[in-house]
């Protein structure tokens, strides 16, 4: 069993246009490892959604991708406002994004639901005014 590999990214919250760079970068590395393309696809979509969320709601944060031979974990941590009602946020179409964000074509209320759909396990730790940490796991199978 080899040591888990860790890829660490800072997600810049000030620049909307660069949102998604970390998921593109991690995808390149995972291809080099030879991970199954289905795993890479699921991971990059789940991570992209998470990255966008951090930029929209929390002015950025960090993204860590931990690769083992059996699974890949994504840990997205921010120090944003926290999620008031997690159950509501998990509903498709529910969004607290501002009108400005909507005008950019984001805020469809599919972020968290998509993250759940494309990962095998997902947990959300959130505290109002402190921040949110989301963990997702995708198995190699």
């Amino acid at each position: 069993m080899s040591e888990p590999l860790v890829f660490h990214y800072e997600v810049d919250g000030s620049d909307f246009t660069s949102a998604g760079t970390a998921s593109v970068a991690v995808k390149k590395s995972l291809r080099q490892l030879g991970l199954p393309s289905e795993v890479i696809r699921k991971l990059s979509i789940a991570m992209y959604e998470g990255e966008i969320n951090m930029v929209i709601h929390a002015s950025g944060g960090t993204a860590d991708v931990i690769v083992t031979e059996d699974y890949v974990d994504i840990v997205l941590a921010d120090q944003g406002p926290g999620i008031e009602d997690v159950d509501k946020a998990m509903q498709e179409g529910y969004s607290t994004a501002t009108a400005e964000i909507h005008s950019l074509g984001f805020g469809a209320g599919m972020g968290l639901p998509n993250m759940k759909r494309y990962s095998d396990e997902m947990s959300i730790e959130t505290e109002l005014g402190v921040g949110t940490t989301i963990r997702m796991r995708i198995f190699m199978k």
């Binding site: 069993m1 080899s2 040591e3 590999l5 998604g20 998921s23 593109v24 995808k27 390149k28 590395s29 291809r31 080099q32 490892l33 030879g34 991970l35 393309s37 289905e38 890479i40 696809r41 990059s44 979509i45 992209y48 690769v67 031979e69 190699m140």
Partner: protein, 424 residues
């Protein structure tokens, strides 16, 4: 992919070992070794970016010479529509087509004509059930090779329609046999007049199970001056052109999409833009679009490295040539239900993952950890002085080759400077 025959080649004598091509290669296929560029054949997609950027003309595209057509009794020219945009003050395609006959071809078959049928069938294809969305055009061979090397997950999105060049070759041969039943198959030679080296590679390597029907690929730049010599105003000029605006505008980015007659399309040109669009499709961000047209060259085929004219001038020439033409003049039979088999290809060529470190994931992970460690030690300025395009690629090369000693010229210089300052 060992035996893949490339058409982009290097003239070692002219190469000064500068790092221009190194930084511009979209698949990081080039390294500078012993003062000269070396192209990694497994990674090269024959896009021609290095030919475009090389200031010393050390990169060139190997295409067939017109002489190779001598071995055929009946020679057919297949002009790419981009050829039409190369000439100034030329308002009628027939000058070019008659010119091709004057320089030795027995017949001319326009690729633009086949393009119109490919467009008509693509419209049908898009209506079929279960078609991937978006559908990616299969016309640019450099893009197809990029997809199978770097974006294999997008293979399902590729339109399985043969490019107009192949459809034209098939059609031209059938026509020749009808008109000249005395000709044996091997006596008919089909020569594509090409704007780019990737067409040459496509023809010479075949495409998966599909075997190209083109016999020779000659560069537009090689026939250009010969055509100029013979293209005169001529009272007895034959009317040869049988194509409309749709077929001709395929030469320019957006032309193939326009011919789909569907507004939900996207057209991107230039290899960097193509890569960005492929990334977006992979991330699931292009869902509203039905059709994606991708051309490796800036401006589309008119921007190919084997053309003569500036691509923007060529595009405006094409527009003025096609202004007075009908939208399209080639259509399939009205009662045709299905797309004929000779317009389709089967499987994409087998995917050989370009970037994979090892076939074993555990081993790949160990290698990746080493790459990360080495990368941290490197200066991160991506100067190319070591011969790799950037520090990451250098770290990767070291790990792949099992080299332990870091040979970064910047680090070595810094170390020496430090030693001098310390009074050695």
């Amino acid at each position: 992919m060992d035996s893949y025959e490339h058409s982009v080649l290097l003239d070692r004598k002219k190469c000064t070992g500068c790092t221009n091509c190194l930084h511009h290669c979209p698949t990081e296929a080039i390294r500078i070794i012993d003062g000269h560029a070396v192209i990694n054949q497994d990674r090269c997609i024959d896009c021609g970016e290095c030919i475009r950027i090389c200031a010393n003309n050390a990169k060139r595209a190997e295409t067939d010479s017109l002489e190779v057509m001598k071995r055929f009794r009946y020679k057919i020219a297949l002009p790419a529509p981009s050829l039409y945009g190369q000439f100034n003050n030329m308002d009628d395609v027939d000058y070019i087509l008659n010119g091709l006959k004057k320089i030795g071809f027995d017949d001319v078959f326009e690729v633009a004509k086949a393009a119109e049928l490919v467009s008509a069938y693509t419209r049908k294809y898009l209506k079929a059930d279960g078609v991937a969305k978006p559908l990616i055009s299969s016309a640019c061979p450099a893009v197809l090779r990029l997809i199978s090397l770097v974006y294999p997950s997008l293979e399902d999105h590729v339109l399985h329609m043969l490019p107009p060049m192949e459809v034209a070759a098939d059609w031209a041969r059938m026509k020749a046999k009808e008109e000249h039943p005395e000709l044996a198959d091997e006596e008919i030679g089909i020569c594509f007049i090409s704007p780019c080296p990737s067409k040459m590679s496509y023809v010479h390597n075949n495409f998966g199970e599909y075997k190209s029907k083109v016999d020779a690929v000659v560069a537009i730049s090689d026939v250009y001056f010969r055509l100029l010599d013979v293209m005169k105003r001529d009272e007895n000029m034959e009317t040869l052109s049988e194509t409309g605006m749709n077929g001709i505008m395929w030469a320019s980015s957006g032309g193939e999409s326009t011919a789909i007659l569907n507004e939900d399309y996207l057209a991107a040109d230039g290899i960097d833009n193509v890569r960005k669009v492929l990334e977006e499709i992979e991330n699931g961000n292009i869902q509203h679009v039905r059709f994606v047209e991708l051309n490796a060259c800036p401006g589309g085929c008119v921007g190919g490295v084997l053309t003569v004219q500036n691509p923007f001038i060529a595009k405006s020439r094409l527009r003025s040539i096609s202004r007075c033409l009908p939208i399209a003049v080639n259509f399939p039979d009205k009662d045709e239900q299905y797309i004929p088999d000779n317009f389709l290809f089967g499987e994409m060529p087998a995917y050989v993952p370009m970037s994979r470190l090892s076939s074993n994931i555990g081993e790949s992970m160990r290698m990746m950890a080493d790459i990360q460690r080495i990368r941290k030690a490197l200066p991160g300025i991506d100067c190319g002085a070591c011969g790799a395009p950037n520090c990451r690629a250098h770290a990767e090369d070291m790990v792949r080759a099992g080299i332990k000693e870091i040979s970064c010229p910047i680090l070595i210089a810094r170390r020496e400077e430090k030693q001098e300052n310390e009074g050695f």
